[in-house]
């Protein structure tokens, strides 16, 4: 049904990552370890500093310059070897969904959602509260309240408990809690990153740290390679709360073209097949009103030329990604969208296949290497 090509053996990406390029020999990057690092680090929408710091360390050896927009997005910039034939913005949002303390009552923490939290998965979830009064970096372990079936009325049993009825219990006395926690403190899922069987990786915040890792992988591929276009790799802020970092980064960077890297729905029961993609069969390339048809076509061509398995992801309306914002920046920016299939989106147990992350990295790098003096002209043609 979809133009899925033969899956690539997982070793190919690894081999490429560790191969030596002509300009600068380098160590290979362990993308899985890097991704698990990113997932262990908090970075809720509007509060991305911790994950930005991890990323700054990872990107410094891979880029010519580190910079950013004025609201916290991080840019890793690679300069073209000669006069640049264009500038491309590669954007993956680094923020993740989470929760925020709104009220403290009798030692319990009421909270609000940051981003699209699914209230159904919250009761009984293990969390960490980044308690400012307890020293800022201290993460206090907690659990989200749930009411045993025994005490629920028949009516309650049929309903999803809304977020504003739930609380975090730190197991501390009311006085201890009041001493440690402040209104506005952040709450993250405590689920540690974990390798599942085969090639799968489980963690909270894989949306969108998986794509950030792919961006890191792309920069690693490009290291030592002569480029014809300038590349701005951006880890954007606040995607989950309205794409703020994509708006500001696209406006400031003024690119000739942009690619958003995000996650898409992995195949799982109960979802329509057309909206979901099997894990491990490669990244997807999107088509729809937010995306420039030439960007989609060019990404598919690069994928085919490099034997990267890649499915078409069709998006009739809002892509729900940074591409939505970048496209309408200034006088308009041609956008592409590369996505990594992910199961259980916006829950503490998001799952991706590492091969898809690696293939996304490879696709982005091969695409950047294929950018030449003629590509800007191609974008002027609306087929």
């Amino acid at each position: 049904m979809r133009s899925v090509m033969k899956p690539q053996p997982a070793t190919a990406a690894g081999a490429l990552l560790s191969s030596t390029h002509r300009m600068a020999p380098r160590k290979s990057i362990d993308l899985a370890a890097h991704l698990m690092d990113l997932c262990r680090t908090a970075g809720l929408s509007g509060h991305e500093a911790p994950v930005r710091n991890v990323l700054r360390r990872a990107w410094r050896p891979l880029v010519d310059e580190l910079s950013g927009d004025r609201i916290g997005s991080l840019w890793g910039i690679r300069r073209a070897a000669r006069r640049p034939a264009g500038r491309i913005l590669l954007a993956a949002h680094m923020d993740s969904i989470g929760m925020l303390v709104t009220r403290i009552q009798d030692g319990f923490l009421f909270f609000a959602a940051i981003g699209g939290i699914d209230a159904r998965v919250l009761p009984g979830a293990l969390v960490q509260v980044h308690a400012t009064r307890a020293g800022g970096s201290t993460a206090l372990p907690g659990v989200i309240t749930s009411r045993p079936p025994h005490v629920q009325s028949a009516d309650e049993k049929r309903k999803v408990t809304p977020v504003h009825h739930l609380m975090v219990d730190l197991g501390l006395s009311a006085a201890q809690t009041a001493r440690s926690v402040e209104i506005g403190d952040l709450i993250v899922f405590a689920q540690p990153p974990l390798r599942l069987g085969g090639d799968l990786l489980l963690a909270p915040a894989l949306d969108n740290r998986a794509s950030v890792a792919a961006l890191t992988g792309c920069l690693a591929h490009l290291r030592g390679q002569a480029l014809q276009w300038d590349v701005v790799a951006a880890a954007t802020v606040q995607e989950e709360e309205g794409f703020a970092g994509a708006y500001s980064s696209a406006f400031a960077a003024q690119p000739d073209a942009a690619i958003a890297i995000d996650v898409t729905f992995g195949r799982q029961p109960g979802l329509p097949e057309w909206k979901t993609f099997k894990l491990g069969e490669g990244p997807t390339v999107s088509f729809g009103p937010n995306l420039h048809p030439q960007m989609g076509a060019a990404l598919m061509e690069v994928a085919a030329a490099n034997a990267i398995s890649c499915a078409r992801d069709v998006m009739p309306l809002h892509s729900g990604t940074d591409a939505y914002a970048m496209q309408v920046s200034r006088a308009g920016i041609p956008c592409g969208l590369v996505s990594i299939p992910l199961r259980n989106m916006h829950t503490p147990v998001e799952v991706v296949a590492m091969a898809d992350v690696e293939q996304a990295a490879r696709l982005l790098a091969k695409f950047v290497l294929a950018l030449d003096g003629k590509f800007r002209k191609r974008l002027k043609v609306h087929p």
Binding site: M1, R2, S3, P272, E273, W274, K275, F287, G288, P289, N290, H292, R312, V314, P316, L317, H318, Q327, V328, S329, R330, A331, G332, I333, P334, L379, K380, H382, P383
Partner: protein, 363 residues
């Protein structure tokens, strides 16, 4: 897939509307209308370009030495559906592109893809409907398009996910009224083509034929940024809900606009509050020149004005619309006298546009 070739642009206004109405240009794939527009303007535009999103921006230099720029916009796209998957039996699953009611698709013929394959949206025979389903509106995920392909493989040779489809409606001139699909906003596109070809203003005039209005006013936003005008006019088709009262009602007070009552000036809608000075200028010109006009009842809905008004440091914008019944359905209906009134008012009011307040400096 072979792109369709645009025919020579029609000479008369109804002829131009017919040609535009029958072109297929669902939001995000405005190619067919863009070709007609480019061809229609090639001899009158001093500058003609297509931007990164696919908007057509056409400029006629003004006669005055004051280098002010005024923008007028009409959107090329229409609501429709996107093929999202081909099923094993050769049927196509679809999703809405733009504000489209699934109920109006049941039992209709569609044009599918650039090659305009005929297809139909099937409906369960009424004999086999369960009682509760007879009263339940159908949802998009229950609709399938049948292009006559016997299998997934056969269908995949003709269409692919991402292709668009829209109503297969032939345009009809009913004598006084025009009936066709996508009159929202092909009537506006035709008006803008006519206005552009026939008039050279004092100011530089840029006509923006925009993309993706129906999915969030997206083309207009980037066009307004690029053009950076002192003022803008949006040419639209707005709903006319001027039907007799429903059983139980004594009077229809929520008509929005009425056919045959002239061009409609917007005061407020969900995307824009229109500057009083612009509204009054257009109303004054209409009254002086005896051009029929009406006010669109303030309320919901929106148009490219919302995308234009908030670009850069703010752009004064007005919407001038032709009332249309049954828009976003297989066949909308407009009155030709309203179309002509809108053209005349746009031309006269723009020609005498007062100087716009100076914008703050950008230092």
């Amino acid at each position: 897939m072979k792109p369709e070739r645009a025919a020579k642009p029609a000479a008369t206004l109804p002829g131009l509307i017919r040609q535009l109405s029958e072109a297929v240009a669902v939001s995000g794939d405005e190619h067919a209308v863009r070709q007609i527009v480019l061809q229609a303007l090639q001899n009158s535009a001093d500058k003609l370009e297509v931007d990164a999103l696919g908007n057509v921006l056409a400029t006629r230099t003004g006669t005055s030495r004051r280098r002010e720029r005024v923008m007028a916009a009409a959107h090329m796209d229409e609501v429709g559906v996107m093929i999202v998957s081909i099923e094993s039996d050769g049927l196509l699953a679809i999703e809405a592109v733009g504000g489209l009611d699934a109920r109006v698709l049941l039992g209709k013929q569609l044009w599918v893809g650039r090659q305009r394959l005929p297809g139909v949206v099937g409906a369960t025979p009424v004999h086999l409907l369960k009682d509760e389903d007879e009263k339940r509106p159908v949802a998009f995920d229950a609709l399938r398009v049948d292009i006559g392909a016997a299998s997934r493989e056969a269908a995949a040779k003709l269409v692919q996910p991402g292709d668009r489809a829209t109503f297969a409606t032939s345009f009809r001139n009913l004598g006084g009224s025009l009936r066709g699909k996508a009159l929202d906003d092909r009537v506006g596109v035709a008006l803008l083509i006519e206005l552009f070809r026939s008039t050279r203003f004092e100011f530089d005039f840029t006509a923006a034929f925009t993309v993706q209005e129906e999915v969030g006013l997206r083309g207009a936003q980037v066009a307004a940024f690029a053009i950076d005008p002192v003022a803008a006019l949006v040419l639209e088709v707005t709903p006319a809900n001027d039907l007799p009262p429903q059983p139980g009602e004594t009077e229809n007070v929520r008509y929005n606009t009425r056919l045959g009552h002239g061009a409609a000036l917007s005061l407020a809608d969900s995307s824009t509050l229109y500057p009083r000075a612009l509204v009054q200028h257009f109303a004054a010109i209409a009254a002086r020149d005896q051009i029929p006009f009406q006010y669109r009842q303030p309320g919901g809905g929106g148009n490219d004005s919302g995308g234009i008004q908030r670009r850069r440091s703010g752009i004064p914008v007005l919407a001038l619309s032709v009332p249309g019944r049954y828009i976003h359905s297989p066949a909308a209906l407009v009155r030709l006298s309203d179309v002509r009134a809108a053209l005349q008012l746009a031309r006269s009011a723009l020609a005498e546009l007062p100087r716009m307040p100076r914008r703050p400096s950008r230092s």
